[in-house]
Symmetry: C2
Subunit: 202 residues, 2 copies
DNA sequence: GTCTATAGGAAGATAGAC
DNA sequence: GTCTATCTTCCTATAGAC
């Protein structure tokens, strides 16, 4: 599914790029094929020489997004020489980097994929779970080793990633925070969250 | 805007309830007036005896959601007897409770409001900023007092709320975690994140 | 691979009877 | 306040010429 992604013709890739932007900005349902065609200075009908349907376009975009995220963490996740703490830090860092470098794609990966029709929708949902599981596994190892608090793994994994994912909605490269600052603030927040004492908070 | 919300007729409130569910589940753009009418066992045209437009329905829903969130934190935020730490804990707790008790509404508050037409869209965006500022202010006080690390206030506020907001997407009351567990896990994670040491994470 | 033309349907919304 | 009927516009998608 992300292993059988074929390189497409230049034209097709151009269309995917424009569609990614449109779908991300207006939302898949609100972005029409006519909108998309206009961005590319062609007529809507011409899009159908390149892709069979709107769903096919979303699918190709979604697959590529997923691949980017997996490629980001895979070498770190597979590196058996790293401690859970270091590994998780680097994986989160990689995740942040992919989000920041591919904001439009991230919006598809987090939100717009829900518009995929079955059976693609279900397939994609499973892929997302797989991705989160990678983080959950490292957190589990860290807890076992005693460097992280005892946490509800699946829940906390989701929470960590959620805090990061929201960035895709508001980050603008022209803003006051640099990528490095964002990475530092987030990693401090999240890693301290895992390390701290269990307290009653009352 | 949230202070001039009028109680509507029973029928109108029924429509808002059904619409909140529909908009939340399928997304505003993908949920048609005909869909909504079918849920209520009436014809689409009848909806227009109650509301002037689809945008008006979204607006009434969105305003009510915003009010619920503000009502949740306002008494805590205004309580001058609380330390920043206690105040933030209780405000986050209130936020979590509102999210869990009003999942459909939360989805509107976090996502679907973007489909509001101008000038409502801008107005609503400002309201959201106001809400986040309440949290940011308390974090600033905590940092000043030395109980929280020095953090980039606006950014960290967004991150904390983001971690919580994602819950609205997946939480099901029938799941394995109780509301109390969710609150405890999240508060531990977030409050520890603010308290911990600044570290290099490398 | 792009065009014009158009099919076929679904969208938001309105008119007017009851 | 709900209905039937309908307007207008927009949608995804196809047919066939160039």
């Amino acid at each position: 599914m992300i292993n059988d992604i074929q390189p497409l013709s230049d034209r097709k890739e151009e269309i995917l790029l424009a569609a990614r932007k449109r779908f991300s900005e207006k939302g898949y349902a609100s972005a029409s094929m006519r909108d998309l065609a206009k961005d590319l200075d062609i007529k809507a009908a011409s899009l159908y020489s390149n892709f069979e349907s709107k769903d096919d376009i979303l699918w190709e975009i979604a697959r590529r997004c997923a691949r980017d995220f997996f490629v980001g963490i895979e070498p770190i996740f597979s590196d058996t020489s790293l401690s859970p703490e270091t590994k998780l830090t680097h994986m989160l860092e990689a995740h942040i980097e992919v989000v920041l470098a591919n904001q439009d794609a991230s919006t598809i990966f987090f939100d717009e994929w829900k518009h995929l029709k079955e059976p693609r929708n279900e397939q994609y949902g499973n892929l997302q779970k797989q991705y989160a599981k990678r983080f959950q596994e490292v957190i589990r190892q860290g807890t076992e080793k005693g460097v992280f608090r005892a946490v509800e793994g699946r829940f906390v994994t989701t929470s960590l990633l959620s805090a990061i994912n929201w960035i895709a909605r508001w980050y603008r490269p022209t803003g006051r925070l640099t990528i490095e600052q964002i990475k530092e603030e987030l990693l401090n927040l999240l890693m301290n969250g895992l390390r701290g004492e269990r307290s009653k908070n009352n």
